[in-house]
Amino acid sequence: MSAPVALLVGNPNSGKTSLFNGLTGLSAKVGNYPGITVEHREGSCDLGDGHRLTLIDLPGTYSLAPRSDDEAVAVRGVLGVLPDAPKPDLILCVVDATALERNLYLVAQLRELPLPLVVCVTMTDTILADGRSVDAALLERRLGVPVVATPAVRGGVAALRARLQALLADGRPRRLALNPPALPGINTSAVDDAGRVLGDALARPGSSWAGHERALGLLAASMCASGGLDKLGLPAEVVTRAHVTDAGRVVRAVTEARYARVGEWAAGVIGEAVGETRSARLTRRLDAVALHPVLGSVILVGVFLVLFQALFSWSTPMVDGIDAAMGWLGGRLGGLFPESLPLLRSLVVNGVVAGVGNVIVFVPQIAVLFLFLSILEDTGYLARAAFILDRLMAAIGLHGRAFVPMLSGFACAVPAIMATRTIETTKDRIVTILVTPLISCSARLPVYALMIATVFSTQPPVFGVIAPGALVMVGMYSLSVAAALVGAAILKRTVLKSPTPPLVLELPPYRVPHAGQVARAVLSRVRIFLTEAGTIILAITVVLWALFTFPRDAELSQTAEAARRAVEVTTAPGEERDAELAKIDARTARLQVEQSIAGRLGHALEPALEPLGFDWKLGVGIIASFAAREVLVSTLGLVYGLGDTADEQSLSLREAMRADRRADGAPVYTPLTGLSLLVFFVFAMQCMSTVAAVKRETGGWRWPLFQLAAMSVLAYLASLAVFQVGKLLGFS
C-alpha cells in the first residue's frame, strides 16, 4: 500500500516551508507537474511505527481565487485537478498565528468545500514570547476540524506528527463542509448554475462535487472577479459557461460574510496583547529606518551594492579555482590516453572536461545570488525593496521584483534568469528573462577590454583629458541598459502585452532567517541548474568541440610532427627549443582551426560579415564565442597563431590584430571596426549557458529560440548601421 498523501497549503510567509522541512527532513525534492513551470516540493514524513506520509508543499496563496500561476497551482492541487498529482488524503492548512484573521480567511474558503482538512497553527512561539496565549482547542471546537499548534521553527512538529498519525490510523479524516454564508440581496441561482458547471468539470472518477454547487459557484464568482477562472486549466467552454455576471457584487458580499465568520472563530483564540508586542515593535523600529524616505533609499543602494560586489568579485576566487581545477583535471586525464588516440583524448579534455567546467563555473555565482536572495526574502527585506522600488519599476511597466534579476544581469545572466522565479505573473517574468541578457554581463568585459586596448588606446584623448577607451566603455554599458529598458517596454506592448503588474504586497514582520532553510534553497537551485541546464551546456560544448576539430587533416599533423622532430634535433634542450616548439604548435592550431568546419563556416560567413567590417577570423571568433563571450579572445589568439593561451591583456594579440590588413592593405582593426564589434557584442546572445537557463526557466524551447533569433538579428542590424553610417560619415 502506498503512503497516504497530504497537501500543504497556506498563506505566503506563514511558516509553511519550515514546517515542510521539519516534517520531511532531507527527503524533499523539487518537482514540476507536466506542462507547468511552477515548482512544488515533495517529501516523505515519518509518522512513527513505520507509517509514512507523502507531503506535497504547494505554493503559498492568500485565497482560492488565484492571481498568479503559483497560486493557481495551489488551488488546482486543492481541487484535485493538477495533472499527474495524486489525490490528497489530507489537506494540511498552515495558519500563521500572528496574522490569524487573514490566514483564517483561506480556512473559511476551504471549510466550504468537502475536503479532509487539518489546520496547523504556526508561529505560536512568537505569540508565546510576547506573553500571550494560543488556544488551539478553542479554535478546533469552533472550526470543526482538527487544529494543532506548532512553533514554526525547530522541532515543534512532534505534536503534529502524533496527531496526523492518530487521524490516519482512525481511517481517513472526515470531509465535512460548512454551508457557505447566506448572501442577502444576491441572485443565488446564477451562482448555483456556475457551481454546477464547475462541479461537473472538476469531477474525477470516484469524486463528485454534488451538493456543493453554492460553494463552487462562489469560488467561480471569486475567480471571475479576479480574472483567474482561466488559470485552472479547464476547457475554454467551461470557463465561458461558469462565468458569473455581476461577480464583483457577489464577491464583496461573500468576502465580508466570510470575514464575519472569521471574526467569530478568531475571537479570544489569541490572548490580548498588552501594549505593543515585541515583534511588532522590532518591525516598526526597523521599518522606521529601512523605509525612511532618505535613509531607506541609501540602505537599499547599500544592500544591492553588497550583493553586486559579491556576485562580481567575491565569487571570482571560486570561479578561478574551478578553472584551475578543470585545467588540472584535463591535464591529468589527457595524460592517461596513449598518443595513438589523439581524437579520444581531445574529446575528453577539450569536449567533456571543458564542458563540465563550463557548467560548474556558474555554480559560485548562482550560489551567491541565491544565498543573498534567500536571506533577503526570509528576513522580509525583499518585500521592502519592492515597496521602495515599485514607483520606479512601474514607470517602465515592469514588476518591482524584476529589479534584482536585472541588476544581477550585470554580473551574469544565468543566475539572473534563475532569480526571475520570484516574479508572480508569467508575462512579466518572460519579459524580464528576455531582456536580462541585453545587460552587459562580466563575460563581455574581456571582449570590451581587448577591443578598447587594440583600437582605442592609440587614439588621442577627447577634449584633451578623457581617454577614448573610457568613453567607449561607458557608452557600451549605457547602450546595454537602454536596450534592456526599451526592449522591455516594446515587449510589454507587443508580444507580451499586459498591463503594469498590480501591486498588493504583504510586508511580513522581520524574522531571523533559518540557516538550514537558506542552505536548502541555495542547494536546490544549484542542483536544478546542474541537472537541467547543465546537460544542455555540456552537449553544446561537445558540438562546438566537434566544429573546431573536424575534419582532421592527417597531413597537417604529420608536417607538425616532422617540424617538431627537426627542432628537437637542431636545437639544444632549453628555453629556445620550448619557444620553437610552442611556435610550431600555435601554427598547427591556427591551420587546424582554419580548415575545420568552424573555420570554413567563418570563411562562408565572410560575405555576410563584411558589411559589418568583420573578416573571417572574427566570424570564427563569433562562432566559438557562442560557448561564452570571453572565448572570442582566446579564439582570436588561436587564429592569429598565438596558441590558445592569449587573454585580453596579451600584448602580442593586440600587436597581431593591429598589424592585420585587409586585401586592399587597409588595417582590419580601425576604431570603426572596433565599435561595430563592440555593438555586436552588446546585443548578441552569444551564450549557450543563457540559452540553457532560459529553456529551463520557461519550460520549453520557444522563448530561448525567439530570444536567440531576436538578439542575433538586433546585433547584426545595429552593427551594420554603425559600420555603414560610420563609413558614410567618413570614419574608417
Binding site: R67, A99, R252, H292, F387, I388, P502, V504, L505, E506
Partner: protein, 108 residues
C-alpha cells in the same frame, strides 16, 4: 455620511451612482490619508481584481486601518490592518472610502 450609508451601498440597497457620488464628492478615500492617519474603511466603489484581492486580504467595510507611511517616491502606501501590514498603490486605494478619520494620533 456614516458607515450605515456605506454599508447600504455595499449591499446594493442604494443606487451605485449614489455610492460613486459619495466617494467622489463627499467621502474621503484611503489614498488621500496622510501617514499615521487612522480610519474605518467603507465599501469600495469598483470591483477590479486588485480591489477583490484587497477585500480578501481583509480590507472589508468596517475594518480599522492605519496608513503607516508612504514609499520614498510617494507611492505606494503602507497600511496596517488586522495585525498585518500591506502595501498598495494609491490608485487602488482610491477605490476605498474611509470614515471616522483621525489624523496623526499618538501611538497606543
Amino acid at each position: 455620511m456614516g458607515l450605515a450609508a456605506a454599508r447600504a451601498a455595499w449591499y446594493g440597497e442604494t443606487e451605485n451612482h449614489y455610492h460613486l457620488f459619495l466617494l467622489t464628492f463627499v467621502m474621503r478615500t484611503l489614498d488621500t490619508l496622510p501617514a499615521r492617519a487612522r480610519a474605518i474603511v467603507a465599501a469600495p466603489a469598483t470591483s477590479t481584481p486588485v480591489v477583490a484581492r484587497l477585500l480578501e486580504l481583509g480590507l472589508t467595510p468596517g475594518t480599522a486601518v492605519e496608513v503607516v507611511r508612504r514609499a520614498p517616491f510617494g507611492d505606494p502606501i503602507e497600511i496596517s490592518l488586522r495585525g498585518t501590514r500591506l502595501c498598495l498603490r494609491r490608485a487602488d486605494a482610491a477605490a476605498f472610502g474611509v470614515v471616522d478619520v483621525s489624523e496623526g494620533g499618538a501611538r497606543p
